[in-house]
Symmetry: C2
Subunit: 213 residues, 2 copies
């Protein structure tokens, strides 16, 4: 049975691949798992049929027959556990890959999302410019710490894992800001990751949805 | 070998149990795992010795011999996988417990933390009152959706899991705001969880640290 992923019918990023279905698409491509996509409008995401799958009314969800999961982190972890390719062998290495998935979502993404939300919802407000300085500083603190960790490493640990996939997906949200340019180590890390054929296939698939609307 | 947890030498919450070591203490108590605590000052958290354990210079970290983990979500998942009591049997139930752990950290906690950060860093600013209305609304959206999901359930799924532990730890950050009072379902859920002897022991342990300083 082909699993079904939900995604925005009209992604607010206009095909930039920043919505959270992209992480799942990328993981599915890395793992060689075929999938179908169900597109939802914003109105449909708040209807009972979708809320039964996702109590917070968001995308993505991931369905395999009767099993329904939401939260991109949980979906990625589920896929990485079921298929070979995104979790290293060995208890310690496996746990550290999972740790980086949480770090991407809980330590690196929140200041990035907060910065994006401010732009989206508060850029006409008198306080926007003053707050932006503070929000940028919070993001830079994380970028700087992550850059130090990466140093000469190719990936966060010895091999590419679900942790890298999530970290890269999170960092790509900053691409249009130019902030990554200040961290050559991170820019090179993003380039390595987005050159992966699985990333390219996933990106093309989500772009095709946007272009077909 | 007794595992070592790092925690604030002087918790900014003055013993309210809101720092992220509390989640790990609670999990360790639920699972019956003895542990030692290493207390760190804010300055020590940014020193090379700690940054080698935690590249973002935060607490908690969790060490078992050579193994070091950071991110409270990853630590909880590691513990829940190694010991019986916080992950249900059965693939589906196990995955949904993990899913709720991610939901607590990625969907429910961010607006709560953003609200707390605004109070901490921006409450003297001219825009604080106006932004607070918006931040409260974001939190209430999540509380309302979570309350609908819980309905008559005792826990998020059939039995208490790592997902409930994390969700409760996150919601407790709102306790002093009074916002939970508007959601009797959530207030009852928090009461059930915090009555657990393991929670009580963990709370007492972190409070003792604060009172001893």
């Amino acid at each position: 049975m082909t699993p079904i992923l939900t995604a925005f019918a009209t992604s607010p990023d206009r095909g930039q691949g920043l919505a959270r279905d992209m992480r799942v698409r990328w993981a599915l491509e890395e793992l060689g798992v075929a999938y179908d996509v169900q597109l939802l409008s914003f109105a449909e995401m708040k209807q009972p049929a979708h809320l039964a799958r996702h109590p917070f009314g968001q995308i993505p969800t991931y369905q395999e027959g009767e099993r329904v999961l939401f939260e991109s982190g949980a979906i990625l972890l589920h896929l990485a556990e079921r298929h070979r390719g995104l979790l290293p062998a060995g208890d310690d290495a496996r746990m550290r890959a999972i740790m980086w998935t949480f770090a991407a979502l809980n330590t690196v993404e929140p200041p990035i999302v907060e910065r994006s939300m401010a732009w989206l919802l508060e850029r006409e407000q008198s306080w926007y410019a003053q707050r932006q300085v503070m929000l940028d500083e919070r993001v830079r603190t994380r970028l700087s710490q992550l850059s130090v960790w990466l140093g000469d490493r190719t990936w966060l640990e010895d091999e590419f894992s679900v942790g890298d996939l999530m970290m890269v997906a999170v960092l790509l949200r900053l691409q249009s800001s130019g902030m990554i340019d200040g961290y050559p180590t991170l820019a090179a890390y993003l380039a390595r990751a987005t050159e992966r054929p699985a990333y390219q296939r996933a990106f093309a698939a989500q772009l095709a949805v946007f272009q077909s609307r």
